[in-house]
Each structure stands twice: as C-alpha cells, then as structure tokens.
Assembly symmetry: C2
C-alpha cells in the first residue's frame, strides 16, 4: 500500500505527542520521529527536582508511568513510530518534499521524503554573549545533559557556590534545588522583581520567602563578565562592578524559539520570533505543520501573538498538529491564556491570564482585587493563600488571576485558569457552586471570596488600595489616619508599625470619636486579611466618612518590613 | 432615624451570612438574627472531624479564623447584628409583619416587627419511625449537640460497636471517624451502592476501600427495628431478619427542608418540599426571603427544581438574600450544579453536575468517558485518580464529572465544577491551558485527558465499555476474545483473570495471528488505565477488526474481584 509518510522533527514534548497522535489517527501512515538529543520525550519540567535528588532515578524522567523507557524500541512497538535519536535534520527541500537528516554518531546523512512534515524544534536557551562564556561551570538548564551536569554537582565538594542568572520560573526552581543540595546560591535578576508572571507585590512575598531560605536575590542588576581561573568559572562581575565568587553559573534568562530550520526553508516567522502557524498548526507551507516552543501562539485574551514555551501547551499543540497531518485539517488549537505554577520552597506560586502589569501594558482599564486567607479551615490545617484577580472594567471579563502561598494554590489557579479559558465574566464567578468539604476548602472557597472582593470593589462598597499605596502614604506629612482593626492579641503578635493605631473592629462603633473629625480626611484601614477592614469601611462610610481606603490582603499580604 | 428592621431566622450557615451581608449593605438597618440552638455559625460540615479528634478544640468549630467565638457579643461588635440564641421563632404574622419569638431558656415570648424577613431555617435530619426509636444511643449527626454526643464516645470503653444507617456522604465520613476512634462499624444502606453522587462503578471502588479499612458495608438492606435493653440500644434488626449488635446507631439518611414556619405562614412550598424562592431568593411574600437548606433551588443543568443542602450553597444564597433584603432586589442567585467532595480514609471522592445515572434519569442521551491515571508524575509521588465525564451527545455540553482516588481529586473536581457552572462544551475543554508543573499535575492534566477520551469516543476512535460490560461478557459462552495489552511484569503483579490473554502492546503488531480470524468477532481489550487499550484498538481497527471494545479505566478502575 502506498502509504502517507509523516515526518516529525523534534522528540521532546510536542514531537512525540504529534507522532503518536498521527499514527493513532492514521495507522496506514508511516510516521518518522527525528530527535537530535539521545533522549526522547523527556520530562524536562522536572529537571530541577532531578537536580535536587527528589527524582529517584534518571530513567524515570524518560519513562512511561509503568516504567518503560521511551526509546526508539518503545516508539516502534507501542506507538508504531520509527524514531531516530542523535539525528539532526539539516535542511528541508520544500519543493521536493524531503529533508536531509544527519546521523550525529557517524556523520552520515540521508534524505527522507515526506507527505506531511511537523516541526517541533523547540527552543534554545538564551545565553548572553559575555566575556568568559567558554569557562567551565556555566550552563543553562535546558537539555537532559544540562540536568545531568547539575545533578552531578550533588555530592561534589568542590562546588560550593552558585550564581543563577535570571529569577524566572526555572531560575527560582533551580535556586531551591541547589540550595537544597547544600550550595550557597545567589540569584541575579535584571528586573526589579523575580517571577514576572506575578505582579510585583506578590512576587515580593515570594522573594522574601526565597531569602528566608538563605538564597540571596540581587535585582536590577546583571552579569557583565564571567571570571575564571584555569578554564573554570570562579565568579561573576555584576554591572555595578561587584564581584560574586562562585563555582557554578546557571543561566536561566529565558528561551528563544528554535526556528533556524524553518527560516532556512523560507517558512514565515512571526513578529514574536516563533514560526507562524494557523489554528490548524499549519505553517505558511500547507504540507508543513509546527507545534510546541518553536511556534508563535495566539493569546486568547488579548488576541495578540505571543510565545508560550510550556510543556502542556506543547503537548496540546502536538496533538492537534499530529491529527491534522494525519487526516487533514480537522482539529484546531484555540491559543493560550498563559497558565503556570511553580513550587518555591514551602510556597507555591501560580497564575493564569494577565497580571495587572500585563493588562495595563496591553491597554486595558482594569480593576484588581487582592485577597488573603486560609485555603481551608484553620482547624483542618488550613494554610495561607494570597490571590489577586484582574478584571476588565468595561466588560467585567476576568483577565487574570494569580495566587501564592503555603496553601493549596494549585486548586485556586486551576479553577481560575478554567474560568479564564472559558472567557468568564466576574458575574459568572461570584456564585460558582464548587466542591466543598473541610479537608479541601473553605465553605466559600478562596477563589470565590476573591471574586466577591472584586465585585464589592466594582460596586463601590469596598475601596481597596495596595500595600505600596499605604507605605507611600505613611511617609507623607501629615500622614493619613491609619487604622488597624484587629484584636489586641493579633496586634501584639504581628504589626506593621508605620504609625497606625489599633481599634478592634468590635469596638469601632463605640470609638468613632477617636477618628478624624474631618469626615473628608483620608483613612487607611486594614486587618489580618481584609474582611474586617472591609467591615470597618462599611461602618465608617455609614457614619459619614467619605475617604476610607482598605489595604487589600491586610497584614498577611504586607511584603515590606514590619515593626514586629 | 426610622431605620429598616431585617429579621433573620436561623443562625447556622445561611442566616449569619445573610445578616452580616445585610448590615454591610445597609448600615442604617437594624439586623436581628434569631437562632434556636445555643451556638451560632457552626462549621457543621466538620463534625465528623471533630468526632474523630482531628479538630483540637470544640470552640474552633464556632470561631472566626482568628479564634474569636462567633457568639452574640461577636455579632454585635464585629457585625452590628443583634443575635439571639436559644430562641425559637414560633410564628409569622405576615399581615402585621411581625414574628413571635420564644426564649427557650425562660419560656418568655416577644413579638418582633420586621420590614424584611429572611428565613434560614435549615433542614431536619430524617429519622425513620422505627420501633425502639426512643432508645438511648440513637442519634443523627446534624446539630452541634449530636456532634458533642458522638465526640463523647471517644474514650468511652462501653461503646464498642456502631451501626450507621445510610451510606451517603455524612454516613461514610462518620464511619471513618468512628472506625478511627476504635469502634467496630457497620454501614447499612438501602440502595445497592454507597455515595449516590457517584455512579455505581466508582462508588464500588470507594466501597472496597471502606471495607479494606475494616468498616462493614451492607447494601440493599435497611433497619426494621432498634433493639434495646434498659432503655439503651443494643442492636438493630435488619429487614432480612439479621441482627447486628451495637452500642450506638447514627442515622444519616438525609435531611428534609425545615419549612414548618414558612408553611404555617402560608408561604408557597415547592414540589421538592423546599420553600419556593425566585432568583432574588424571595418567597411568595415580597417581604420575606429565604436561603439555605430550607429552600428549593434551580439545577442550572436541567433547569429543574431540586434540593441542595450544602454549606457552600447556603452561604452563597444567604449573601444574595441578605443584600436584597437590605437594599432591594439587586442580587440574583443562578442556581446550583450540585458539586461535592468528601474524604474517605485515604481516598477522596467528588463530583459536579450530573452522574450518568442522574443524566439518564433526566432523559439525556449521554456519552460517558472514564479515565484512570496518576494525578502527577510517578517520580513526584503521583497517586491514582479515576474520573468519569458525562456529555450530552446532542449538544456536547458537559453535564457532569466525578472523580475518586488517593490523588488530588480536589483540583480535578474544582476544574470540572468551574467548567460545568460556566456551561462548557466538550470542545471547550480539550485544549484548556491549565497550570502545570511536576509537583502539581501531569503535563496534560488528568481532567484534560478525560476530555480527550470523551472526544475520541464521540468521534468513534475509541469504543469504550465499562467494567460491568466486561464482567458480564466474561460469563457468556463462548466468551468474547479478551486481551490485556500490558507488560508481563504488570501481568505478574496484578491481573483480572476472567479468561483474558496477554499480548503486550509493543508485540501486538507482530502477533495479530493470535487474534480471532473472524474480523467481526468481539474483542475486549484493556491495559492498566486505558491508553494502551486505546492504542490497541487503533491498531486492530486498522487491520480490519470491526468489533473492538476497550474497557475504560483499565485494570486500575476494575472494582470486582481479581485473580491477583
């Protein structure tokens, strides 16, 4: 039978999914998977946990859930896919519909014809072209070999200090791994905050936690030069001239789509630098599809093109590309909303959709709501989560949600991501019927109460400000009237100490004479999380005060220094 | 100032929320909260954990997150609400807009006028009128006093054996609590399964787990008589005549809306037995609202009326009723989808929307998809979850989702509940961009792959059957050809053993001659979870077999006896 041949270039995430799906959809097709690295289908998002020693065996990163290594034999038998490893596709001849593949072990090349081609060439780690870049001990964390190198650091007494360049998701996960195995770790970040998927005030809470775990964080600074001796790195020089001695440098300043093959073949590259694809994951050549980190995606919220180098998105795109290459353009991929989550020592941090910063940069008029509280009842071991919802004022559409904390951030962000993917409006969220039992959530789930805060703000019942507003206001003379409405016990345990006075909420109605008699005076109030602060606003507003502002998230979300 | 008076009847869940919201919305209003029990705002869903000893102090069930007991003093100070406890509302005079309240401590009565009334009278536990009902040691688990009684069992050497009547959510949670504190526990259920929010095949997996934790479960049987000596229960007689000795009986066969007050006042009671309310939570009297377990709700999926005695729903309804009573009908409640979750020893079980049974009973033509697999990668400590999605064939709307397992059922059901509340279709789910990192989920989250199974079934790529179909087929002569496509190692560890043969998926293409040569013969195949079973179907279909069926959920979801 003259069968169709589908060639998939790239065997990490999108590629194996595309190849497997293609074969399942069309068993008559011959499916060929070509991978440059020696490994296939690596669980690369787990590399930090491999370095940390949490993954018991290296093979687990490369195996099916039942423990079979996903090598060419596995792909041949279980998937019906011919897989080649350590093989690089050098060029595409689009007119003749064939590629040239080079065996990296023996240098031999072969031409392979295709009916459909799927490019899953991934991304390349960005490596700054600094003096000293060729010193030993400088590595990205991108390929399995990088993970192997960093895992070899464990138990190596020569490696004591590491500098991580870039405080993004991988940089921070890696800082935890290296700290865990005993290294002294410094993260150097060019921007004024770590974890740019969070707004700065939540990122600052996470940064405080990173520092509390003895990882140093240096922001608004970069590395200008690698320092070395005998060919090995011994330190970095920062842009401000400071030197930080180290035996290891991990570069994690992001990735760029690997589009060289596509570009050389004349395929259209999008303005973001990724391969341009349509909703069918088809490139500018109707015989060529692309999926994964190498492609440009549509942001479902803004409608604009973006990059999204995430393993889950790569799998979903691979599934669509594989089907379409196999049976015609039956499947579509709707785009991304940019959901992510990561573990940072004892905290989790996740987000979906747009942060306030991203939303404002995209031109939206937004309302935000910050909420802090336990993930489940305290008597069931509830732990703090702090979240922030971003709403477009005009349409009341939920643009984004971010959450951090020691509690179950996972459920919160998963709920929000589902809602954002589905284009929910705020009014869709305030009465969600969600699963509740005390071991799992509060009666009103944290996500719901964040929506309630947003609704109350939108209706003018709750005038919220963020922690920075309060900090700046406290530096003014005269200061606004600042009011903490918690209990004396809570006040003794923790307090901000920027000039606020304590009037417990339960006494507020009887102590109104202690407030400014000018009813238009600015009053800033807060409690532990925000709920009592909100009650205080309602009481004061009813008594004629006109300029009350509540610090959202309360004392628990305050990321700056406190008196105690 | 002539202020509005809002009277709220009932102080458990909906009532306190309604009263607090009303006051926040209208500080000029006088808000009165009247509660029959001595306690206010009890965390009643946590009673099983209090009985178990997991909640350190009783007061925690009655306190704010910062440890303040929610008593009348708290409500007065913090909420501006006048709360009366141990006070029963005896009647409503709708014409005069006043109620008669009786102080249960001294028997005195007073009339209280209202501008708006909110009924949050809750539900009553159903107690079967059996001989011996007045014996000591027979209790529901509904009020704080019931929880106190059952908590007193802990450390009482006289109480050794308990019978729980009713295998619903509270019955099963209570069975865990009583087993944990050392009792011998038997659950007696009238129906053929426990946990009716699950379809039977998932409920059976949970039931096996309950039995493995030494709780006996007797189904399709009921209690016909309580047996006693010296005024105390000593056992129960079942409908089939069997006697089970016990020192304690917990009755948990559900609740009925407490509508006596409303009924006597002539308010309209719905066909489900709950107080009829509109979307504003308003009863048939425009001055009277109702919220919580006493009301009838709209099922957002079917559009039909239903009951939903859940704490989260009560809070949401209370919030709406409180606002509307305070400032006019500005808020609406959209109804429920019936989401729930519970812990059962080391498993969790949750659901949202309609089960297959409920959907079929409601007349839907449905397609279901069952999926089993880890919640996150095995090397990150992933644990099994089994889920089932119910889709309406005609509209492809997601009608429901249920999930059980030792893994993170919470995230799965929370995602699904969000989607079901938002009216999602299957096509909305297959490409959801969800938060992913190895400590939290698989690259393709379990919920997503369940949607993929459903999509593959809908498109005829995957012909799934459930475990019962396979069990029944295995009893026929001749049996269909039954094929397990796992590895020899897996086969040696666990196998069903109903006449199936083993051909590992990787060898299947080379061993097709071992299959029936009649291409129309029925072939049933499975693997550990379903993925390889699905691959097998695709291979066999491509080779001309026409009648292949895959057992969904594979060996992991098989709830019946196994050979090993």
């Amino acid at each position: 039978m003259a069968s169709k041949r589908i060639v998939v270039v790239g065997g990490s995430a999108a590629g194996p999914k595309a190849a497997s799906r293609a074969k399942r959809m069309n068993q008559d097709a011959e499916v060929v998977l070509i991978q440059r690295a020696p490994e296939l289908s690596m669980a690369s998002c787990a590399y930090p946990y491999f370095i940390k020693g949490e993954v018991a065996k290296r093979d687990q990163l490369l195996s099916t859930p039942t423990g079979v290594v996903r090598n060419p034999t596995f792909f041949e038998g279980a998937k019906g896919v011919h897989a080649y490893v350590e093989t690089e596709v050098e060029s595409i001849d689009r007119a003749a519909k064939k590629i040239v593949a080079k065996n990296l072990r023996d240098g031999s090349t072969q031409e392979i014809e295709y009916d459909s081609l799927i490019l899953c060439t991934g991304a390349n780690p960005r490596m700054p072209p600094l003096p000293g870049s060729d010193l030993k001990g400088i590595t990205p964390l991108h390929a399995m070999k990088d993970a192997d190198f960093l895992a070899s650091v464990r138990g190596n007494p020569e490696i004591k200090r590491a500098v991580i360049i870039g405080g993004g998701l991988i940089g921070i996960e890696t800082s935890e791994a290296l700290q865990h195995i005993g290294l002294e770790v410094t993260v150097v970040e060019l921007l004024p905050q770590i974890l740019m998927f969070l707004d700065w005030e939540l990122a600052l809470v996470v940064e405080n936690h990173v520092r509390a775990n003895t990882v140093d964080v240096i922001e608004e600074n970069g590395v200008s030069e690698y320092l070395g001796e005998n060919g090995a790195v011994t330190g970095v020089r920062l842009k401000d001239g400071r030197e930080i001695p180290c035996d290891l440098v991990v570069v994690s300043i992001g990735v760029s789509p690997n589009t060289e093959l596509a570009r050389n073949a004349g395929l259209t590259i999008g303005e973001t630098g990724g391969i341009q694809v349509d909703a069918h994951m088809k490139t500018s050549d109707p015989s060529i599809y692309a999926a994964g980190d190498c492609t440009e995606k549509v942001n479902r919220i803004t409608g604009k093109k973006c990059l999204a180098p995430f393993g889950d998105v790569a799998n979903l795109e691979g599934r669509v590309a594989g089907e379409n290459a196999a049976i015609g353009d039956t499947a579509t991929f709707p785009g991304v909303v940019l959901s992510g989550i990561c573990k940072v020592f004892n905290l989790s941090a996740g987000s979906t959709g747009l942060s306030e910063r991203m939303a404002r940069a995209a031109g939206y008029d937004v309302l935000t709501a910050t909420n802090a509280g336990p993930d489940k009842p305290g008597f069931m071991g509830g732990k703090l989560v702090i979240s922030k919802m971003v709403i477009e004022r005009e349409t009341e559409r939920v643009l984004g949600f971010q959450c951090i904390g020691a509690g179950d951030v996972n459920r919160q962000v998963a709920e929000a991501a589902t809602a954002v993917n589905l284009g929910a409006k705020l009014s869709d969220l305030v009465n969600l019927d969600l699963p509740y039992a005390p071991p799992f959530s509060l009666a009103l789930d944290h996500f719901l109460t964040t929506a309630h805060v947003a609704e109350n703000k939108l209706r003018g019942l709750f005038h919220g400000v963020n922690c920075n507003y309060v900090l700046e206001a406290s530096k003014k003379e005269p200061k606004p009237f600042m009011l903490d409405v918690r209990s004396p016990d809570e006040w003794e345990e923790i307090r901000i100490g920027i000039g606020e006075i304590l009037i417990p909420l339960g006494n507020l109605r009887n102590r109104l004479n202690e407030l400014p008699q000018d009813k238009d005076a600015e009053i800033l109030c807060w409690c532990k999380v925000s709920m009592r602060g909100y009650e205080a606003e309602r009481i004061l507003a009813a008594h004629g005060w006109t300029n009350i502002k509540v610090m959202e998230g309360g004392v628990m979300a305050w990321p700056f220094e406190r008196e105690k």
